[in-house]
């Protein structure tokens, strides 16, 4: 039993890496633009299907990363330009708008790649990788490392580079940032592109160790949102911890109860945090009305 639980903790930890990438993209855009991009999960899924397409042509899913980067970033940029056209009632309208974009992307994926459930057929990626009593697929481990590297890069970018600091400035006070000579529009665009980069990697990762289907995008957005609620607003380590928590909760549910209840675990965690600690586990920002 302990072994099973240890294994669940380990799998959840590895899963948390990709979850964190997805959640960070959502949080970055929300930070600069105060818009929750409800199509974010679909952007991730788009990358996953690109990986599927590349694999079906006989290449490894890894080779999909450059293509996914280009396509997903272009899609993210398009989302930005559409969303930025909203002039009135931005909060409500942007939600409905990005929801609509999500519907478009889901149906495009459905049209191009059909409704079937897909997963990788690469034996190299699926090969077992054993550490002591713990088991994982090779792809899980690879992409966990990749996501940690990406998060370190993101941290460096946000704290050291000009644009990264601009993103943080616009997130904390748009007007003050404007007075400092930062173009908020450009910064928002940059945050969308970075979110696209993270989504591209996360999508390829999802395909490399999991199963994908066209309707999965909405669930991904919800997961990313749950993580940001768990983490509160702000820090990268917080988001990673929230993501690992969600991954572990899901893995434990699958081990101890059933895989059908997996999604319920995240929701339960989410509601618990909402009731007990409405500011997130690690955050202090106000969110209550």
């Amino acid at each position: 039993m302990t072994e099973l639980i240890l294994q669940a903790l380990y799998s959840g930890l590895l899963q948390g890496g990709s979850y964190a990438l997805i959640a960070l993209g959502l949080a970055l855009v929300f930070g600069t633009m105060k818009v929750i991009n409800l199509a974010h999960g679909e952007l991730v899924l788009l990358a996953a299907y690109i990986a599927y397409q590349v694999e079906s042509k006989g290449f490894g899913p890894m080779f999909a990363i450059p293509i996914a980067l280009v396509v997903v970033c272009l899609a993210a940029v398009s989302v930005y330009f559409i969303v930025s056209r909203i002039k009135q009632d931005r909060e409500i309208n942007s939600l409905i708008l990005t929801y609509g974009i999500g519907v478009i992307l889901t149906n495009l994926i459905l049209l191009v790649w059909h409704a079937d459930v897909r997963s990788t057929s690469s034996t190299w990626l699926q090969e077992a990788f054993v550490v002591g009593p713990l088991y994982s697929m090779r792809s899980e481990l690879i992409f966990f490392v990749v996501s940690i590297v990406l998060m370190a890069g993101l941290w460096w970018w946000l704290s050291k580079s000009w644009y990264g600091r601009a993103v943080r400035a616009v997130s904390s006070n748009r007007d003050a940032a404007k007075l400092m000579g930062i173009d908020p529009g450009k910064t928002e665009l940059v945050s969308f592109i970075v979110a696209g980069v993270l989504a591209a990697f996360a999508g390829v990762a999802l395909f490399s160790y999991g199963v994908i289907q066209p309707a999965y995008g909405g669930a991904l957005t919800v997961k990313a949102f749950i993580i940001t609620v768990l983490a509160g607003v702000g820090s990268i380590p917080g988001v990673l911890l929230g993501a690992v928590l969600l991954g572990v909760a899901e893995a434990l549910t699958v081990t101890l109860a059933s895989s059908a209840l997996q999604e319920l675990a995240g929701m339960g965690l989410f509601l618990l945090v909402l009731f007990v600690m409405p500011n997130g586990l690690f955050g202090a920002a106000r969110r209550r009305g």
């Binding site: 929300f30 939600l95 708008l97 609509g100 519907v103 059909h114 949102f225 929701m267 989410f270 909402l274």
Partner: protein, 316 residues
């Protein structure tokens, strides 16, 4: 009642012209019934958005719960169908009570939290199979009964029931909006804090709107269940039950009362008769495009084009 004439015309078309001209055409009638069901959900969605200032992506939860409550009451406990309809509404209200803590959250957080709830209810309907029949669903749900010689079980009967309910709830919506509470809610739309200062319990009012909205969506879920006689979780809690009403409400104008219903008739019929013919899968793509175009170009809805010329009863 300033605009009596358009209202009378609406009633004449709804209860006179449509049944007389199309009543015998089962295919068209079934389309119209489905469109009215979606119109009802769109009305409830718009009520929450317009009066409560809340965007819900979780109305499929209320719809599905209403459908299941009514189906299970009639199939397992043999409750009469017409008595089960309001109970279905109450079932959806009970579900909305579970959601009340979410009202503390604002804007995007509320919208996503309610989406999360919709997922939970769908999973529960699938997994709680001793009660709901699980993924296999519920079959043999009774149709509407025969009342004083008229059979409401056929397409025409379902049409009359759906139409009557839509108009009834539109009337309720209009009464709420014209009442003291409606004024308070409209004030809340401008500034929730200022409204609180003058002594309006904004959370209570929003909770009330969530419940009214849930009730309406639940009743239409039940109407649909008795109309198609079969339910399964993936159908009853399908995201379409929120996508279509949102498109309909935005298309018709979510700040008007009958705009969402008119939008549902146009959008659903176009979707089924035109888009679906040319794109058997993925035809909701067109709905997504429509939604995006409406929000970017004309967020007040297409009916707003006519409203400026006066005499738009939908806005009254």
């Amino acid at each position: 009642m300033k605009h009596k004439a358009p209202l009378l015309l609406l009633l004449a078309v709804g209860y006179g012209a449509v049944p007389l001209l199309l009543g015998a055409n089962n295919y068209v009638m079934s389309m119209i019934v489905a469109a009215l069901v979606i119109g009802g959900v769109a009305l409830s969605w718009a009520l929450l958005g317009n009066l409560g200032g809340m965007v819900s992506f979780g109305h499929s939860a209320f719809f599905g719960i209403g459908a299941y409550v009514s189906a299970l009451l009639t199939v397992k406990l043999h409750v009469p169908v017409l008595a089960a309809l309001p109970l279905a509404g109450l079932g959806a209200v009970a579900a909305s009570v579970v959601m009340l803590p979410v009202l503390r959250l604002r804007g995007p957080y509320f919208a996503l939290a309610i989406l999360a709830y919709a997922h939970i209810f769908r999973i529960l309907a699938t997994e709680w199979s001793s009660v709901t029949g699980g993924a296999g669903g519920v079959a043999g749900i009774p149709s509407f009964p025969t009342v004083s010689g008229f059979d409401f079980g056929n397409k025409l009967g379902a049409y009359l029931i759906a139409l009557t309910l839509v108009l009834l709830f539109a009337w309720v919506y209009a009464r709420i909006r014209a009442s003291y509470y409606g004024i308070a809610l409209r004030a809340m739309h401008d500034s929730e804090d200022a409204t609180r200062v003058v002594g309006v319990d904004s959370t209570l009012l929003k909770a009330a709107m969530l419940m009214v909205s849930a009730f309406i969506a639940g009743v239409f879920g039940a109407v649909n269940a008795h109309y198609i006689n079969f339910l399964e979780p993936d159908y009853a809690f399908n995201a379409s039950w929120v996508t279509l009403p949102i498109v309909a409400a935005i298309f018709g104008g979510y700040r008007t009362i009958l705009g969402p219903v008119a939008g549902a008739l146009v959008v659903y019929l176009a979707d089924q008769l035109i888009f679906k013919t040319y794109m058997p899968t993925g035809h909701q793509l067109v709905l997504g495009v429509l939604l995006v175009l409406m929000i970017v170009l004309r967020p007040a809805g297409l009916l707003s084009l006519f409203a400026k010329k006066g005499g738009a009863h939908a806005g009254a």
